[in-house]
Amino acid sequence: MTTSKIAKGPSLQQQRVRAAFWFLAPMLVMLAIVAAWPLFRSISFSFTDATADTIFNGKAAWVGFDNYIEQRVRSNGEIRWRGVLLDAEWWNAVWNTVRFSLVSVALETVLGLLVALVLNAEFKGRGLVRAAILIPWAIPTIVSARMWGWMLNDQFGVINQMLLTVGLISEPIAWTARADTAMLAVLIVDVWKTTPFMALLILAGLQMIPRDMYEAAKLDGIHPVKVFFRVTLPLLKPALLVAVIFRVLDALRIFDLIYVLTPQSDATVTMSVLSYRQIQQFGDYGEGSAMSTLLFLIITAFVLLYIKLGRVDLSGEKS
């Protein structure tokens, strides 16, 4: 480069923008490869009749929205509707997923908040307890699901043993197999596993609240419960909103726990599990992708709704 070129070159602002772009470029390329492209492929498969046989040889045909909803005219003139959107099994999975997400996240938030409040207090060995409480979250889900599977086992499970001993139940319960207890089993394990994560996120929020606030309240002689609802909770709200959105996103795409703990139960099958079954077991890539796409849309809708509600609430407080 000659000096005259430098003089005529881009302004400092343009140079910064350009530099920023080059710094971001590797990440953008990575995201395009690992996120955007698979998402695009998945959505495009949902508009084809792709199966395990046709998916890689390009023989899959474009079928439009037929995987979602399709009108079929039988030879006898009878009109039949089919597709994921009319599939009772799909809506059962949607209901299961939503029910699971709402209950588990609600429980985890309340329990996580309690744990975080305890961990926020000063006591000896706090560091150790903080580390120890993370253990359930650090164990791989497959391992903890298997572990709980055994603990909940109707023949050999320690939980049945304990409940029988204290006389709460009269005969062993097949927790994971029975339709009326399968969801409960899944919820117990998920809450056990994820409460620590929630607690840590909330704890981080709690530690952002200046100690002065509590001391000012103490000097005013405000009851601790009142301090919690009038000072702690409002100040914790931003952290709490983020923690909840993280967990809702996670819970809505729950797969591993249910796949291991209650593999064939209709009472717990979720959108992810159903989509996986459609693709891996039945080789129906078209319909499975349609389910994945719907799952994606449902999660997006939840997030948008949540952000919107969060904001409305925030401004409502100000007025």
Partner: protein, 333 residues
Amino acid sequence: MAKIELKNVKKSYGAVDVIKGIDLTIEKGEFMVFVGPSGCGKSTLLRLVSGLEDITTGDMLFDGERVNDILPSERGIAMVFQSYALYPHMKVYDNMAFGMKLAKSSKEEIDKRVREAAKLLQIEHLLDRLPKQLSGGQRQRVAIGRAITRDPRVFLFDEPLSNLDAALRVQTRLEIAKLHHQMGNVTMIYVTHDQVEAMTLADRIAVLRDGRLEQVGTPTELYERPNSLFVAGFIGSPKMNFLTGPFAAAHGCETLGIRSEHVVLGEDQPWAGEVLHVEDLGSDHFLFIELGASEPLICRRPGKTDIALGTKVKVGPHPDHLHRFDKDGKPLR
């Protein structure tokens, strides 16, 4: 409104002694300033008075009544924090009323008290705002207003001006002084590391050092008759000149202290030196004179300077204002 007595008050955190035995009486309506370098225990001492920290041993009395085991909220105190400690999600009005609402005062009573305090501090127009919409100085006033609404026996200030810029600090200092005059008989305890704040606000100053009281007295007492080398060096700006060796020996002491305004220039003075640097403050100027001692001697003179850098001068101490200290840093009088 309360007389506060501290009797051999000590505070330890585990094996660490922070307050090492303090005896102090603060009179009704007095403005007492705790001052000292960081880590001297002045904030801890204030927190002991407030009840936010427990006294390890010793007694604290408010109007003759032992308050060691009385809850902070029942001691009749109000505290203004360095960080203001305003509730960010509450409006100014609610911040000021929060403590009272829960003290089961009637709505009219709360409203009256809040508005009175707001009027006193000229923050009436800010009552509907959130703390984040206020400037630093306004926040500080709200914090003071919140303390006033509590109608306390004792006002505690924990370095309330530290987060303000220089101009605002001077202005708010004046307002606090005014407040003290207006509120007449309210006892105030004020913690600062800034000796100028201490000198300008206090009825009496308690200088703390390493968990002990170094000296308690009026600003004038501390300035004119410091009880130790430490107090002599801590109170006053610029710092008192300290000379050792032959300079001090000539006056029969280990360390000779001279305030900058008591350094005299003249041909008949004993010490020869050279002007190293001049600081011109407009109304005054400081000459930094190299005498061959450990630090240059600072000489304060009124008006503008007529002395150029590098000028050879002769200086000496004003004989009526010598501060002589022995080898333990105790004054020789």
